[in-house]
Subunit: 332 residues, 2 copies
DNA sequence: ATGAAAGCGCTAACAG
DNA sequence: CTGTTAGCGCTTTCAT
């Protein structure tokens, strides 16, 4: 029972009205008489008719689609942001087109160009770094552009996030103030990801300010549990073991802790661990972790709000600092 | 510097050719002479021109968009599947429209109807349960329909996943065979989620087969760390404590374990815990967990493959059992 | 409250 | 290799 393809003309013929009346019955029902409207909508439902978005969009030259480009969705932080965006946008009848660039600027550029073909109502990106071509295309897109996650730099239009350098600096500083002197930094040096670099930068700045010269910085090969464990072993093999290990995110922190414990060290008594991101599971599984929390879901919501405001012709803030909170879980 | 809106006609005029030649230069460059093509593409790039998808789609009545509807993306399992889908689809120039239904059939139905307006190239859903209206609309959509996660039931078109009942049954049975007799089941009874029910069903079947009459089934109020901990406390308060607790997923399992440890119990010596899903972090943080692993990313990939095959006019399997693997981590 | 005409930007099909 | 014609399905605008 292959489906017949109905158009608005078909529905018009069946109900004995003009296509325009069908269009009105669907889009602005209050402009059509009760009787006619009921009959039209009955047929629409019965036939399972849905207006063709391509045609509507062609006429209006603006879709109800928001394009979102993030590195990858199977990363709890990104997923939270996206969920917030979706929740904030759905009630306004906006759909989400999602592209994943794996944090590669060339892929990002391609996705942006592709997405522009949909004449999106808004575009949401991750971070402030984009290729020159991409920036130009975005500026010409003539729709709200939101850059998420980072606010340390110049936004094209709207930026929402936190200063990773500031947060990392504050975390380091507070822990140094607690008396830790010998520390190490464990991170995955994702190429092109400025936020990672900024976190490291904040750490190093704080060290310098505290008059600490020696830096121990260990980078791992990728962002996985096993890579983190290998990093932890590298740290334990150091001639002089640090008392505190800063990790550039919670996955690294949790995995490294586990490895320390496995080797018989007590966490945090023998070796303390600090993370970044405060993913939900961290609190369940690693009560000894001190980490930086920011409101990820909230930043998605704020982005949605800014977009909706703009589409309504209202003004929206150009830069939203979501701030951060240091979550102390040392003592458990 | 608001952007002028170029159409294919503008580009044609600028380069002194017909619109059709511009179209060809972009879509089928091999049909255009080198000289003309180079000049056209130069102008296209210079002006940042991108073909209007609405118009292309209107002509062909088929978009290059795959619509995906899942409960929520901030759930590692769903995110993995989606990532697999995206990775499998991107190289074929298919974009992803993502809607989230929070596992509510009425929202799902609305999203399906909305999405149909895009005349999607394919539709991907979660689970096999949908409203009658939704099923009808999907059957009429005249494109591949993939139902993910579950294969215990009748698919509209293509189903890819595993039998949650079978997997849960096997897990329970193997653990019972190891000698555990006193067990409990801890779960969040998500309304409308048949997969949860099937997992519980598999557990109960295995108990019955083993001649065990008494069931201890604890349900928690939501899927969170704190709810799981409360559940764990309920279990510890039982007059006769179980030796093994089955949890309907790993988040519950990890959180409950943590609570057991906090109360001074040794896991798994005093109380063993089994989960379901094998999320990556579980292995990092809870080496004592026995759980069921299925290839989530792979099922996204398979879905992508099936869709691409169909769009190519080739045949695709209608039912793919991804199977499962019991991951033993008892002894650590 | 309803209808008719025009056209959005593009490509399929056919010429040349 | 390039151009012409027609029309995809809908909404905007202007009648009635």
């Amino acid at each position: 029972m292959a489906h017949e393809k109905y158009t608005i003309v078909d529905i018009a013929r069946i109900t004995g009205v003009s296509p325009m009346t069908v269009s009105r019955a669907i889009n602005r029902p209050e402009l059509v008489s009760d009787k006619t409207r009921d009959e039209i909508l009955r047929v629409v439902r019965q036939k399972g008719f849905v207006l063709n978005n391509a045609a509507r969009m062609l006429v209006s030259d603006r879709s109800r689609v928001v394009a979102v480009i993030i590195p990858r969705i199977n990363n709890p932080a990104n997923a939270d942001v996206f969920q917030g965006l979706s929740d904030g946008l759905e009630e306004h009848g906006l759909s989400l087109l999602l592209g994943m660039d794996k944090a590669q600027p060339d892929i990002e550029e391609k996705l942006i160009m592709d997405v522009l073909g949909w004449r999106p109502a808004a575009i949401v990106l991750t971070g402030l770094d984009h290729s020159e071509t991409a920036r130009m295309a975005l500026r010409n897109a003539n729709c709200p552009i939101v850059e998420l996650a980072d606010i340390d730099g110049e936004a094209i239009d709207i930026s929402i996030g936190l200063s990773h350098r500031t947060a990392s600096h504050a975390l380091t500083r507070e822990l140094l103030d607690k008396g830790y002197r010998k520390t190490a930094y464990l991170y995955f040096d994702a190429p092109q990801n400025r936020r990672i670099t900024e976190r490291l930068g904040g750490y190093r700045d704080a060290l310098k300010e505290a008059g600490i010269k020696r830096e121990t910085i260990i980078s791992v090969s990728d962002l996985s549990v096993s890579a983190a464990r290998a990093g932890a072993r590298q740290i334990m093999a150091l001639k002089s073991r640090p008392r505190l290990v800063f990790c550039s995110n919670d996955l690294l922190a949790i995995s490294a802790s586990q490895e320390f414990k496995r080797a018989g060290l007590r966490v945090p008594e023998d070796i303390a661990v600090a993370g970044f991101e405060d993913i939900e599971l961290a609190s369940a599984v690693h009560p000894a972790l001190t980490t930086v929390r920011t409101n990820l879901y909230g930043s998605g919501m704020f982005a949605a709000d800014a977009i909706v405001k703009r589409l309504d012709g209202r003004r929206a803030r150009r830069r939203i600092d979501m701030g951060y909170e240091i979550v102390w879980r040392e003592s458990t």
